[in-house]
Symmetry: C2
């Protein structure tokens, strides 16, 4: 109780000295607080937009349902209604890297105005507006403070990697994850779809690939993928598939053994098995598969992995070793040959390649347009941006690790502070402009739909804010009360996000955690959303 | 996929060499595997007991509902029914430390026999029986292996501490926690009810105590407590309240300021405020409060905390400092005086005191009957058992810590291995017989009902097995496949327990996590259970 009072005073002091006075996460770029506080009754807030959009309609309906978590318990209101007027200046719904996500929000007595260039900026504004509605438990009432906000993200790529290979993640859980990412203003879902242990993606061209799934019922159909892409679009979240090759390819070989290298000495670790790149049929296979899969996504980027290739397996496979000798290839040459061939496929499917930083570490010259996701270290990142590549930071944001930054806190959840401290430009002295953002990763060796939420939240909030807010927004003590409000709010929305300090979060009596999305899109909605 | 195969072979090898061939957690003392495997159809297993017991009836109904998680999806069975015949030799339902929890289980073609001294041993046997029923996803079928098991726990005190002070834990969530503890054969719920930040326990004698609760709706009534005690009894789980005094007492002072010491220099940390023991009214208050509360519990033990007393606060309070001078008391003397007075109350309410090890560290001579819960270290434990006290191990089992045993794993969940390795007798050379068990602790600074399951499970399974199984059952690699089955099974039962390695756990399509118990007891059932 006294700790609560201390936090309360901390917030009060923050207001007095003008720092982060709003409980909004990620913290907006510009905030100007007014003097009025407007009571709002459940059901009294209506959203009206100046444009017709199937995609944005879903977003408006979603937030209208989220504004008042305890509305079922309230008396019907006789108060007047408030209209949140949304002005969107362009009806262009193109969702690609670099779209304008800015918005402005003005709350005054009698006037709620949200303005944005496009629907995606408006979605960010709706989330901020939702967070401004404060619930008072003792009075069972809601209010909103008068405020003027002007906001836009620091980085255009605010990604989250979901691994649906180490454990199968049902489609509904992936949609549920998207809810949580959208609430936190992440804008990119990096879908690590397949890996050494499992190939859960259905292919019409190569139906035996899903023999590499954990179970016939643990697979993603084309319809599943399209639903995920459409659902993500209702949050302004791009979806980028990863097919991790040439390493981590054992699961490809369950249905198509000829695709993978044979190396008994390495086979005890399933992660050691790469594709057999000596066989031209392998490249035909990749070409055909990606030609089938890529159109299910709308994004210009396509992730081809490239990490942790075990070239020793290639050398142990006589056919591959002979081919390398014949070609006069070192292992680096062979890896280079693979990446060069992959570029041909990327061009034919009209996609820009993303890889992990491993090919570069291995001496491979990547196509200069390749986007490099750095999981190794800040010094590797410095070299990569100096070489002119655009890059994503991931090394600091491994949510699976016990000690992500080698810091030891008392509580495991306090690792959020390490994520928060990891500014993408830390120790980067030159070419920082080549860093276009970053990605949190939740590798799934010890994750399935049951524990994903709690292992990710509230810790990933620190990453979300780092990627969106100004670099100067970096105080743990100022962030803490804001995150406290937000994590409680996430729980009420059905996202399992625990607390970071002793406090009280009133929740709905009938709250259950469903591992399902908050909105069910119909087939016709999916079609409308994808075609716009 | 290949990793799965490796695990499969590991299990096969274990069977061949006779080690832990059953996927049962905690592993039983004696197992003899037969040669037959019996197919069982959903709904076909009936349980029949030779005694009438309201308490055991709840347990039988519960398990009957749990045997077939996918039964709703199955065709009605035309197979024959199987009768699990339960023989209980005594109808004595006394639930106290040291009751006989042994059972034997014999599964043969046409005969399922569970035998136990009392209903609590029979409950352990039902849990083992449940774990023996194996689900085959591809065939959507169930089977059970022929086996003969004779089992009993290594330690009589297998406890779990739940902190409902740092965050309020709704009654339904405490009942849900009891489900998870019962499934894992924990037998003691140590309910850390109040602490510095909150006093959520309603008192009819002192109604202002709940002014120290986070909210008027964040409290436990007498009825709530009795429901918890009755519900725990349906799992053979004892419930022991902790009222942590004389330190950590700030929340007592919200409603009754005269109870607590005043020390401005220490007040910045709410944990620093102890009771004012110079005031005789404090002891009257404790006496009256405990006289009211103790009868709500049926256990002979009562935990009075005693940890982290900040005597500096006493010395800064002029009234207390003057009283100490008058009495000629050092701080140790004052602490001794407090514990001596507490013993008088314990005697009057007919309870045996438990404290944390701090009074002993402080030089206090505790009543020799005091049970000491050691949270500091193994060397302290050695000294305490050498002094003749009975003791509980807790220091190795702090579930809140990032690095519980200062070991760094790659994944946070792998800290289960540290818990598993922590044998209570590690580094104990003498008087190990004074260790009567141990307790996992889940302190709640960063825990509420939303994230408790995932932060506790599957890691606490390692503790459950350490306290139940033979000391020689200590191989991580042999435990892993068993825990893999069990954690999947926990999920299907509604307990959020994640995986420890890449695998596939088929779950019900309609599975939701409710933070509620699997059984709702009626008021008349609660009365019947408590009165037996």
């Amino acid at each position: 109780m006294i700790k609560k009072i201390i936090l309360f005073f901390a917030v009060l002091i923050a207001i007095v000295i003008g720092q982060q006075p709003l409980n909004v996460v990620p913290y907006p770029q510009q905030v100007s607080i007014g003097t009025c506080v407007i009571p709002v009754a459940p059901g009294s807030i209506l959203i009206e937009s100046n444009i017709e959009s199937a995609t944005f309609s879903v977003s408006m309906d979603r937030y209208t349902n989220l504004f008042f978590p305890f509305s079922n318990e309230s008396e019907p209101s006789s108060n007047e209604s408030f209209l949140l007027s949304v002005t969107i200046y362009s009806d262009d719904e193109t969702l690609q890297l670099g779209i304008d996500e800015s918005y402005s929000l003005s709350i005054e007595q009698g006037s709620y105005q949200l303005k944005a260039t496009n629907i995606y900026g408006a979605m960010r504004g709706l989330e901020t507006f939702k967070q401004l509605i404060v619930y008072n438990e003792l009075e069972n009432s809601y209010s909103i403070v008068c405020v003027s906000i002007s906001d836009s993200p620091r980085y255009p790529w605010r990604g989250f990697m979901v691994d649906s290979a180490r454990h199968y993640i049902p489609k509904n859980m992936i949609l549920h994850m998207i809810d949580s990412l959208g609430f936190s203003k992440f804008n990119t879902l990096h879908w690590h779809m397949v890996d050494a242990v499992a190939f859960p993606v259905e292919s019409t061209t190569y139906p035996d690939l899903t023999k590499g799934a954990f179970s016939p019922s643990a697979t993603f159909s084309h319809d599943d993928i399209q639903e995920v892409v459409a659902y993500a679009k209702t949050y302004g979240i791009r979806v980028i598939p990863e097919f991790d090759i040439p390493g981590h390819a054992a699961a490809w070989g369950i249905g198509y053994p000829e695709l993978v290298a044979t190396c008994p000495d390495y086979a005890a670790n399933v992660n050691n098995i790469p594709l057999d790149i000596s066989n031209p049929a392998t490249f035909t296979f990749i070409q055909n598969l990606f030609t089938e899969i890529a159109p299910l996504f709308i994004d210009n980027y396509f992730h081809t992995g490239g990490d942790e290739l075990v070239t020793g397996c290639w050398l142990e496979d006589p056919a591959i070793a002979n081919w390398m000798t014949k070609m006069g290839f070192s292992t680096t040459d062979a890896f280079q040959y693979f990446e060069n061939n992959l570029d041909v496929t990327m061009k034919s499917i009209n996609r820009t390649k993303i890889t992990w930083n491993d090919p570069i570490d291995y001496g491979v010259q990547l196509n200069p347009e390749t986007l490099v996701q750095v999981w190794s270290s800040g010094s590797d990142l410095q070299g990569i941006v100096n070489s002119g590549y655009k890059a994503l930071v991931s090394f600091a944001w491994y949510l699976d690790k016990q000690n992500p930054d080698n810091n030891i806190h008392y509580e495991w959840q306090d690792t959020w502070q390490d994520f928060y401290a990891a500014d993408p430009t830390n120790n980067i002295s030159t070419n920082a402009e080549n860093i276009i953002g970053g990605e949190a990763t939740m590798w799934a060796e010890q994750i399935n739909q049951v524990n994903w939420d709690v292992r990710v939240w509230p810790r990933a909030i620190g990453i979300a804010e780092r990627l969106w807010s100004a670099q100067s927004v970096n105080s743990v003590s100022l962030a803490l009360p804001r995150i406290g409000h937000f994590t409680c709010d996430l729980s009420r929305r059905g996202i399992q996000s625990g607390p970071l300090f002793p406090d009280y979060c009133p929740m709905q009596d009938d709250l259950v955690f469903t591992m399902k999305p908050n909105t069910k899109l119909s087939k016709s909605e999916i079609k409308l959303i994808l075609n716009k």
